[in-house]
Amino acid sequence: MVFLSNLVNGISLGSIYAIIALGYTMVYGIAKMLNFAHGDVIMVGAYIIFCAAQYWNLPFIVSLLIAMAVCTLLGITIEKLAYKPLRQATSLAVLITAIGMSYLLQNTALLIWGANPKVFPDLMNLNTLQLFDGQLSIKGEILVTIAANIIIMIALTMFTSRTKMGKAMRCVSEDRGAAELMGINVNRTISVTFAIGSALAAIAGMLLCSSYPLLQPTTGSMPGIKAFTAAVFGGIGSIPGAMLGGILLGIIEILGKAYISTELGDAIVFAVLIIVLLVRPTGLLGKAVREKV
C-alpha cells in the first residue's frame, strides 16, 4: 500500500515535470534552442496566481486564466526581445542569453515579491480520495494533476496532427527553410510555440505550488532543470517523449527517495539520465537523425 501511494505521488510529480518538459521540448523542436528561462516562467505564473487569489480574492479558475494570459505574453515577449534577434547567431550565444533571461526573471521576482517564501494558498479545496478502506489515500490535487497532464497531452497531439498551425510546426521543426518555401511564416510559428509553452508553464506553476506550497523566486529553477532532464530523457523534440520522460522521472525520484535515500533522490534521477543517454543517446523516444545524401 505504501508502495502504491508512493507510485501515485511519483506519477503526480512526474505529470508536473511532463507539463514543464512539453514547453522545453516544443521550443527545442521548433526553434532549435534550449529556453532555460522556461522554469522561471513557471515561477512567474505561480506568483500571478498567488496575487490574484490572495490579494484580489479572485476565484481560482479566473486566477489561473490570468496567469496563463500573463505567461503567454511573457513568453512571446521574451522570444521577440531576447531570442529573435539571435536567430542567425550561434547556438551558444542563444543558450547564454536564455540563462541570462532566467536570472533576469528571478531577480525581477525578487524585487517585486521579496526573498521571503510565500505560502501558496490551498486553492482547489479538494477532498482526499480514500481507497481500500482508507489504507490508500490520494489527495485531490494529485488526481487533478494527473488528469490535467492527460488532457494536455491529448490536446497537444490533436493540435499538432489536425490543425494547420500544428502541421506548420511539424514542418518548421523538420526543415525551417523548406517550411518557408511552403508558405509557412516561421517567425509566427515560433511565437505560437512560445505562447503554448508559456501557457502550459502557468498551469505547471499552479499544479506545482498546489502540491509543494512554498513559493519563492527560485521556485521554478529546480523543477525547470528536472523537466529539461525529463525532456532529454524522453527524447528532446518529441511530445510523447516529454510525457514519458516526465512521468518516469517523477516515479524514479519519489521511489528513489522512499526506498534508497532521501538525500540522494536527485542524484539518483540524474544518474538514471546518464545511464539512459549512454545506452540511447537520442533519449527513449527520440528519433535518430538520418541524413540521406
Binding site: K164, K167, A168, R170, C171, E174, D175, G177, A178, A179, E180, L181, M182, G183, I184, N185, V186, K287, R290, K292, V293
Partner: protein, 240 residues
C-alpha cells in the same frame, strides 16, 4: 508561346553578396509565361544563389526582380508562394518524417483546404509512383522518388512559375530521363519552368531558352537549340 506576352519573371542587374563575397554580379534574365528556361553553368557559378534570391530566402543588394508585373525583391520566401512562385530546392528537402501524402498537403499550405484533394490527384497523374507510396514515410523513399515528391510538393501551390534546382542531382541516368520527361509534361500542361541544372545536355534538350552562367555573370544566352550546338558551350559544358 505568344510573342506579345509580358515576362512573368524579370530580373534586372541583380547583385547578391554573401558577406563580403560578391556572388552574383549583375545578372539580367527573363522568363515568359509558358516557357521552360534553363540556367546552366559549372559548380559555384551562382545558379542556386540566383534562384534563392528570386524565391526570397536571400536578399539582393542591388537590382530589381519583378514577378507577374510587381516588384518582389526582398519579399519573404513564405510570401512568394502566395504570389504564385514555387521553388523545388536543391537536395529536395522533403519532410522526411511525414507521409508522402502529408508532404504534398503541406505543399498546398498556401491554398484553401477544400481544393487540396483534387490537386493531390493531379500531382499523382504526373507521378503515379507517388500514389503507390501515398502512406509511406517520405524518408524511406528512394532518391528518384524523393525528387518526384519534391516536385509534386512544389506543384501543390499551383505556381505560375516553378523553379527547379538541380532536379537530376544524384539520380541514375534512367531516372534523370524520367524526371526530364515529366518536366516537359508539366510544361505542356501549362506550368512555366525555370530550371537550374549542371546536366547541360538534358537541360538544353528540354528547354526553350537558356542562360549560361559563369562566376556570377551571364556569359551567353539564346534559344536552347542553338546553345546545344554552340561550339563554346559544347566545349565547356557538354564535354565534346
Amino acid at each position: 508561346m505568344s510573342e506579345h506576352q509580358l515576362p512573368l519573371l524579370k530580373v534586372k542587374d541583380l547583385h547578391v553578396y554573401y558577406g563580403a563575397i560578391h556572388a552574383i554580379k549583375g545578372i539580367t534574365l527573363e522568363v515568359t509565361e509558358g516557357e521552360i528556361v534553363t540556367l546552366i553553368g559549372a559548380n559555384g557559378a551562382g545558379k542556386s544563389t540566383t534562384l534563392n534570391t528570386i524565391a526570397g530566402p536571400l536578399k539582393p543588394r542591388q537590382g530589381t526582380i519583378a514577378f507577374a508585373g510587381l516588384p518582389v525583391e526582398g519579399t519573404a520566401a513564405s510570401r512568394m508562394v502566395y504570389r504564385g512562385l514555387s521553388l523545388c530546392p536543391e537536395g529536395r528537402r522533403i519532410f522526411q518524417q511525414m507521409t508522402v501524402r502529408d508532404n504534398l498537403l503541406m505543399g498546398g499550405f498556401s491554398r484553401p483546404k477544400e481544393e487540396l484533394p483534387a490537386s493531390v490527384d493531379h500531382v499523382y497523374s504526373f507521378f503515379p509512383r507517388l500514389k503507390e507510396r501515398e502512406k509511406q514515410i517520405a524518408g524511406t523513399l528512394s532518391g528518384g522518388e524523393q525528387q518526384m515528391l519534391a516536385m509534386g510538393r512544389a506543384l501543390m501551390s499551383k505556381p505560375k512559375l516553378m523553379m527547379l534546382d538541380e532536379p537530376s542531382m544524384g539520380l541514375a541516368p534512367i531516372l534523370v530521363e524520367q524526371i526530364f520527361d515529366i518536366i516537359r509534361d508539366l510544361n505542356q500542361s501549362g506550368t512555366t519552368i525555370l530550371l537550374v541544372e549542371q546536366n547541360a545536355q538534358m537541360a538544353l534538350s528540354v528547354a526553350h531558352r537558356a542562360y549560361v552562367m559563369e562566376t556570377g555573370r551571364i556569359t551567353m544566352s539564346g534559344a536552347a537549340e542553338e546553345l546545344l550546338h554552340d561550339d563554346n558551350v559544347r566545349k565547356a559544358y557538354l564535354g565534346s
